[in-house]
C-alpha cells in the first residue's frame, strides 16, 4: 500500500477506523482536536458512531457504556481532559471492559500550555484514577508508529479486557509524516459473551465494579493483578538503537524525545563519545529487564524526558544501584535539542554527577 502524508492526529483517527474503532466520543481540546474534526466527517462515511459530548467526564462514561455493550469504543484527549476521564477509566478497569484512550500530552500541571510534554507519564503508567488498576500504555515516536499502534491497542484492549492508553506528546499529534496503513492479522479474539447486548436466551450480563463483600473485591484485585503480570511477561515492547557495538552511555527515552536522542547519539559519535538508546515503546509494562541488561554495559544511564523527571524513577528502579542513573529534561512545552542532550551527556561524563 502506498504512503500518504498525514498529520498525526488524523492518521490516528483513520487507523482507528480501519481497526474497527467505530464508536468514538470526544470533547475538543488542543492539541488533539483534529482527531474529532476528522472523525466528524469520516465516521458517517463508515457507518460508525461519532458524538461530541458535554465534557470529558461524560466522554469516558460514554466509552464505558458503549464498551460494556460490546463496541470497540475509544476517545482521544489531552492532559487536562484525560484527568477528567480518570473516573471513567477506573470504572472501565474495574468492570474489565476494553477501551482505548489516546492522550496527546500537553504541558502541565493545571491548564498548562498547549505545547508538547511528557508530564503525564506518572498518570498514565501508575494507574491515574482511583483504585488498584493499571492501563496498558503504549508510546509512539512517529506518526507511522502511532498508526501501527491503534490496531494493536484495540486488540490488546479486547484481549485483556482492560483500558489501553496510547500516549503521544503534542509533536506526534501535530506533525505530518508519510504513513502507510498496513493490514494486521491478530489471532482470533474470544467472543464478548459478557457484553450487555440483551439477555436473550441467556442469563443477564452485568457490567459492574461494585463489590461490597471485601473477599469478592479482593478476588477482582487478584484477577487484575494477574492480568498485569501477564502483560509484564508478554507485552513489553522497546526499540534498541546502537546497542550492537560498545557504548559508554545508555540513553533511555520514549516518544519524540527518543528521536532527538538518536540525533544526539550521532553528534556524540562525531565527538568520539559512544552512546546507545533504549526506547520503551510500552511504558506499562516497562522494559525493566532490558534496562538492566543494556545499562550494565554502560558507564551510566541518562533518562531524557520532556518533564522534570518521571520515567527516570522506573529506570532507577530497574537498574538498582548497579550503575548511576541520571536525568535530563526540558519542560513547559520546550522540546530538548540534540545539542542539549549532548551537553547533558558530556557534563555527566566529565563531572560524574547528575
Amino acid at each position: 500500500m502506498e504512503k500518504v502524508l498525514m498529520k498525526g492526529n488524523e492518521a490516528i483517527a483513520e487507523s482507528a477506523i480501519r481497526a474497527g474503532g467505530l464508536v468514538y466520543f470526544c470533547y475538543p481540546l488542543t492539541p488533539q482536536s483534529e482527531v474529532a474534526e476528522y472523525l466528524a466527517r469520516r465516521m458517517p462515511e463508515v457507518g460508525g458512531a461519532y458524538l461530541q459530548a458535554e465534557s470529558e467526564v461524560a466522554v469516558a462514561n460514554m466509552v464505558y457504556g458503549a464498551a460494556g455493550a460490546g463496541a470497540r469504543a475509544w476517545t482521544t484527549s489531552s492532559s487536562p481532559g484525560i484527568s477528567l476521564m480518570m473516573e471513567g477509566i477506573s470504572y472501565i478497569a474495574g468492570s474489565e471492559l476494553p477501551a482505548v484512550f489516546v492522550n496527546i500530552v500537553r504541558a502541565g500541571p493545571g491548564l498548562g500550555g498547549i505545547l508538547p510534554s511528557q508530564g503525564d507519564y506518572f498518570q498514565a503508567v501508575k494507574g491515574g484514577g482511583h483504585g488498584d488498576y493499571r492501563c496498558l500504555v503504549l508510546a509512539p515516536s512517529s506518526v507511522q508508529e502511532a498508526v501501527d499502534m491503534m490496531p494493536l491497542a484495540f486488540d490488546r484492549a479486547d484481549r485483556y479486557r482492560n483500558p489501553v492508553m496510547v500516549v503521544g506528546d503534542g509533536m506526534i499529534g501535530q506533525m505530518m509524516e508519510p504513513v502507510e496503513f498496513k493490514e494486521w492479522n491478530f489471532p482470533p479474539l474470544p467472543p464478548k459473551d459478557w457484553a450487555t447486548t440483551g439477555a436473550k436466551g441467556r442469563k443477564p450480563n452485568i457490567v459492574n465494579s461494585l463489590y461490597l463483600n471485601p473477599a469478592i473485591e479482593e478476588e477482582l484485585n487478584v484477577r487484575l493483578a494477574a492480568k498485569y503480570e501477564k502483560m509484564r511477561r508478554e507485552e513489553v515492547r522497546f526499540e534498541e538503537y546502537n546497542t550492537d557495538k560498545p557504548y559508554r552511555v545508555l540513553l533511555v527515552a520514549y516518544g519524540t524525545t527518543a528521536r532527538i536522542c538518536k540525533t544526539a547519539i550521532a553528534q556524540l559519535a562525531a565527538q568520539g563519545i559512544t552512546a546507545a538508546l533504549l526506547r520503551p515503546i510500552s511504558l506499562f509494562p516497562f522494559p525493566d529487564a532490558k534496562v538492566l541488561e543494556l545499562g550494565r554495559k554502560a558507564e551510566f544511564l541518562l533518562s531524557v524526558e520532556m518533564s522534570m523527571g518521571q520515567m527516570v524513577e522506573d529506570v532507577h528502579s530497574a537498574m538498582g544501584h548497579e550503575k548511576p542513573v541520571h536525568f535530563f529534561g526540558r519542560s513547559g512545552g520546550i522540546v530538548p535539542s540534540p545539542e542539549e542532550v549532548v551537553t547533558a551527556v558530556k557534563a555527566r561524563l566529565e563531572g560524574g554527577k547528575s
Partner: protein, 266 residues
C-alpha cells in the same frame, strides 16, 4: 386457572435491601411490568446509579450496567449510540441526577437521546444516610441541614421536569408519584408510554417519580406518604410537561442556520 398476580419476568426472585415503606420496590415492579408487557426484556439494558438503587442489577432480570455517580445518562448515551437496537433505561435518584449528574442529564435530554430516564425524587440522599439533596424541601431537616433547608443559603429545590422542559429537544417529560393506588396505576401507564416512545425511536423520555424515604425522613411509611402529598406535591406538581406529538416540534429545522426565536413548541 387464571393467574391474577405474579412476579414479572423482568424481576429476579430475590428480596430487596430496600427499607420498609420505601417506594423503590413499587417503581422497580412497575418498570418490570411495562417491560414485560411490551416484550422488551431480552433487548433491554438498565443502568444502575450510585445511591440506594445501586444494586438494582440484582433485582431486574435483564442486562445491566452500573454507572458512576450521576453518569448513567452518559452510559446510556454510549450504549444507544453503539447499539440503537437496544432498549435502555437509567434509574437515578435525586442526588445522582440533579446534583452530580446535572450536566449529563441536561445534555442527554438536549441531544434527544433515545433512552428512558426514571428519576426517583425522594428529596434526600438515601444511601449515604439522609443528607440534603438538590430536591430537599425548604425547611426540611436532614443530616446536613440540621436546622432545615435554608433557601437563602443553598437556594430552592430544583424542579427537574420543569428545567428539562425548558429545552426544545426532549420529547416526553412527566412527573408522577406512587404514594396512592391511583398514582401507582397512572405511573404504570406513563412508564409504558415512555418505553413505547423509546421502542418506536421517537424521543428522549423522562419520568420523575416522587418517592418516600421513611427511614431518612424519620417517619412511618404511612406518615411519609402523607408528607409527600402535603409537602412535595404542591411544589412538584404531578403533571405532563412535554408530550410527544408533533415530530417537527422536537426536531431542529435543518434549513435554518439562524438562531431561532419564538415559542417553545413542546
Amino acid at each position: 386457572m387464571k393467574t391474577l398476580f405474579k412476579r414479572p419476568e423482568s424481576l429476579t426472585d430475590v428480596a430487596t435491601h430496600y427499607c420498609p415503606g420505601c417506594t423503590h420496590g413499587i417503581a422497580h415492579r412497575l418498570i418490570a411490568e411495562v417491560i414485560d408487557e411490551l416484550g422488551l426484556r431480552e433487548r433491554t439494558v438498565g443502568i444502575a446509579p450510585v445511591g440506594c438503587s445501586v444494586l438494582a442489577f440484582n433485582y431486574f432480570n435483564m442486562d445491566f450496567q452500573q454507572a458512576a455517580h450521576g453518569r448513567a445518562p452518559a452510559l446510556a448515551t454510549g450504549i444507544k449510540r453503539a447499539r440503537p437496537d437496544l432498549i435502555c433505561f437509567t434509574y437515578q435518584g435525586d442526588g445522582d441526577l440533579a446534583s452530580i449528574g446535572m450536566a449529563e442529564i441536561i445534555h442527554a435530554a438536549n441531544r434527544g437521546e433515545k433512552f428512558t430516564v426514571v428519576f426517583i425524587n425522594n428529596a434526600v440522599y438515601g444511601m449515604t444516610g439522609g443528607q440534603m439533596a438538590p430536591t430537599t424541601m425548604p425547611g426540611q431537616v436532614t443530616t446536613t441541614s440540621p436546622k432545615g433547608r435554608d433557601v437563602n443559603d443553598v437556594g430552592y429545590p430544583i424542579r427537574m421536569c420543569e428545567l428539562l422542559a425548558s429545552l426544545r429537544t426532549p420529547g416526553f417529560i412527566e412527573r408522577v408519584a406512587v404514594h396512592t393506588p391511583q398514582q401507582v396505576v397512572k405511573t404504570r401507564r406513563i412508564l409504558k408510554t415512555a418505553f413505547e416512545l423509546q421502542r418506536d425511536n421517537k424521543c428522549f423520555t423522562f419520568v420523575e417519580v416522587l418517592s418516600t424515604c421513611p427511614t431518612n425522613w424519620g417517619m412511618t411509611p404511612f406518615d411519609a406518604t402523607k408528607w409527600l402529598q402535603e409537602h412535595m406535591v404542591p411544589y412538584y406538581p404531578l403533571q405532563n410537561f412535554k408530550k410527544f406529538e408533533d415530530e417537527e416540534s422536537t426536531k431542529p429545522q435543518a434549513s435554518s442556520s439562524k438562531p431561532e426565536g419564538g415559542t417553545n413548541a413542546g
